[in-house]
Assembly symmetry: C2
Homo-oligomer: 205 residues x 2
């Protein structure tokens, strides 16, 4: 069995990256979303161990101090982190893992030299992003403006990624994301062991 692959999906707040990945992992075998740790409090509808591992600020800081995070970032004043051990356990089991993280988190993954395929999700336009942020009904006007300001900085980060998808039509964008994952599974050297096993059966007579 070959090792799983690590995928990083990021993009500005409101591009729909979390919904895209949720839809993909529920309809694609052998792929899980990494559950992040966060030191923020739960929002309505969120469940501990489902949406995030909710931990105290002290616990989070201890995990940082013990270098237990593959990446962690401060996103709009809240701390989020991906535990290295969780990710490595899935990959060792041959399961592919997707991290849904922000631009800074993705930079930390890149710096960590962990082998990952990265995908940037762009909104089709600033006005669509703004109406999506409003449509979530989650943020105050001030927070929406702050997210839009950060988005203006973050969009140019697309060039740091392996793939870029534009989330205009949700279902079509999920299929693009699936194609990236399925395509990568057929890539060498990931296919090397399986291909070699077949090729060695063709012993020259």
């Amino acid at each position: 069995m070959s090792k799983g692959m690590l995928f990083v999906v990021s993009g500005p707040s409101g591009t729909g990256k979390t919904s895209l990945v949720r839809s993909l992992v529920t309809s694609e075998d052998g792929l899980v979303e990494s559950r992040s740790y966060t030191a923020r409090s739960t929002r309505p509808g969120e469940m501990n161990g489902v949406d995030y591992h909710f931990v105290s600020r002290i616990t989070f800081d201890e995990m940082v101090a013990r270098d237990e995070f593959l990446e962690w970032a401060n996103v709009f004043g809240n701390l989020y982190g991906t535990a290295s051990a969780d990710t490595q356990a899935h990959l060792a089991d041959g399961v592919d893992v997707v991290l849904v993280i922000d631009v800074n988190g993705a930079r930390h993954v890149r710096e960590s030299k962990v082998d990952a395929t990265s995908v940037f999700v762009l909104p089709p336009s600033p006005s669509v992003l703004e109406s999506r942020l409003r449509g979530r009904g989650r943020d105050t006007e001030e927070e929406i403006q702050r997210r839009l300001d950060v988005a203006r900085d973050e969009v140019s980060a697309f060039s740091e990624y392996d793939y870029v998808i534009v989330n205009d039509d949700f279902d079509a964008t999920v299929e693009q994301l699936r194609a990236i994952v399925v395509g990568c599974r057929a890539k060498l050297p990931d296919m090397d062991a399986e291909a070699l096993a077949i090729a060695t059966k063709f012993v020259p007579r």
Copy 2:
């Protein structure tokens, strides 16, 4: 409009590479199969301009002499070639092109330094390949043995390719091939122009 991408699909005779690509191009927009030139005579059911451009040996040799082929190869005593002009015209129109060619043809494309994504199609096992070659009902016993001999040499060439797919289940393998094409379309730098056009709309205030 960005330039089309070039895909090379190859594998031993009988792996089903031609049927896979035919199925893909009829169900995927923006992708065409390159029609090869050949100096061999037509086989039952083949049509000039549909399956191949059938030309005389003299015409083929003249095209070789004028360096009009992106690649050409002698496959089991028959000459096949891909015209550079046909391919470049499609790519310039923003259409992706698939070449279904043998291992030697793929090597010539690689040597030509033309930018191409290459996919190797493996049969699941030698016995499946043998029964497929017999099932085609096209070759004499001697020709089948010759194709199997060549397949034994060719399978190890998989390591020269970007992607490897195993054609065990036809429909599933077509979808893998589609995922490779759709995934590659989302790759940077191919997505660069489209992503930049969106990113520049997010002008910092």
